[in-house]
């Protein structure tokens, strides 16, 4: 582990009801970087180099998934910092929170099948030019866990066109249904998207659960965590 890597600090936010913060922090540490715990009620991002909004059921997913957390004190700080270029990654509930907070367009709604779905899901990495995906080769296909009840990405037609046109669809569900393919009715099979500059990104599946074949289906998720470290080291 180089000391430069050891110097990278990535914040992981915990809201009441956040579940996968331990996993996100573990994935960050796996790269040799430091995981910094951030608390929903604080407005201090502690000078971190990037922020992960992890998965779970913050505030029980009550009202709409992510709706209540989007109003948390820490999110105001995240929104400000993101405007200045701080890389932000939302995973699952984090995706829902980022759309509710207006950091990414569209919304994530109840699965078309209405049920919670947990399975290992094949994705294609559609854009490898972002700070969160640069470690993947163009067209890479990865297998990571998917687990949610509200994962259907929905946006207006013009928003969708813009996302597609600008290469902002980051991950797409692939494979043959019913055991693979689009698991939830997401428009355009979208599993993840990013901002125009690629620094704010989010996806429904869980790369942080795929860092070690002992506890996940693969270690395909590690690429995202190494990507962000690469970009931080380049600066």
């Amino acid at each position: 582990m180089s000391s430069a890597v050891a110097g990278a600090r990535i914040g992981v936010i915990t809201f009441p009801g956040t579940l996968d913060d331990v996993d996100a922090a573990r994935a960050v540490r796996f790269t040799g970087a430091e995981a910094v715990a951030l608390w929903h009620a604080d407005d201090d991002l502690q000078g971190v180099d990037a922020v992960i909004v992890p998965g779970g059921f913050s505030y029980g997913d009550y009202l709409r998934a992510g709706a209540i957390s989007a109003h948390a004190t820490v999110m105001r700080a995240v929104i400000d910092a993101a405007a200045k270029g701080l890389p932000v990654l939302g995973i699952c509930n984090g995706f829902q929170i980022l759309t509710e907070a207006g950091l990414l367009p569209g919304v994530v709604m109840r699965n078309s099948g209405l049920k919670f779905k947990c399975r290992d899901q094949w994705l294609r990495v559609e854009n490898t030019d972002t700070v969160w995906t640069s470690r993947y080769q163009a067209g890479s296909e990865i297998l990571v866990p998917l687990k949610n009840a509200e994962g259907r990405y929905v946006a207006h037609a013009d928003t969708l066109a813009e996302l597609e046109g600008e290469g902002r669809v980051l991950f797409r569900y692939i494979g043959e249904s019913p055991r693979q393919g689009n698991p939830n009715g997401s428009l355009n099979d979208i599993a993840g998207i990013c901002s125009a500059d690629g620094r704010i990104a989010a996806l429904m599946p869980h790369p942080e659960h795929a860092i070690d074949p002992l506890t996940g289906p693969t270690d395909d998720g590690l690429g995202m965590f190494f990507s962000i470290i690469d970009s931080l080291l380049k600066v």
Binding site: Y59, G60, Y62, L63, I68, H71, A72, T73
Partner: protein, 84 residues
């Protein structure tokens, strides 16, 4: 065709976790004027004129609501525009 609205709410003596969470959020975001929030479901039905009140009552009590923990109210709406 007639329009019918069914409102389903959790019985008042039963915990409504969603309402509780929303009330908490209102407090944290600087809206102290809210004393209680209860969340229920709202159904907008488009029904054939042949559908009777009894049939509406039956589907409300068996399909739309769970009588063990919820209560409901059925209202036939004036034909016109959608509710929102």
């Amino acid at each position: 065709m007639a329009r019918v609205e069914v409102v389903v709410v959790i019985k008042s003596e039963i915990l409504d976790p969603q309402g509780k969470a929303i009330l908490g959020a209102l407090g944290r975001t600087g809206h102290p004027g809210f004393a209680q929030v209860r969340q229920g479901k709202h159904f907008d039905l488009e029904v054939d004129d042949s559908v009777t009140d009894a049939e509406l009552e039956e589907i409300a009590s068996t399909l739309l609501a769970n009588p063990v923990i919820e209560e409901w109210q059925i209202r036939r709406l004036p034909d016109a525009a959608p509710s929102a």
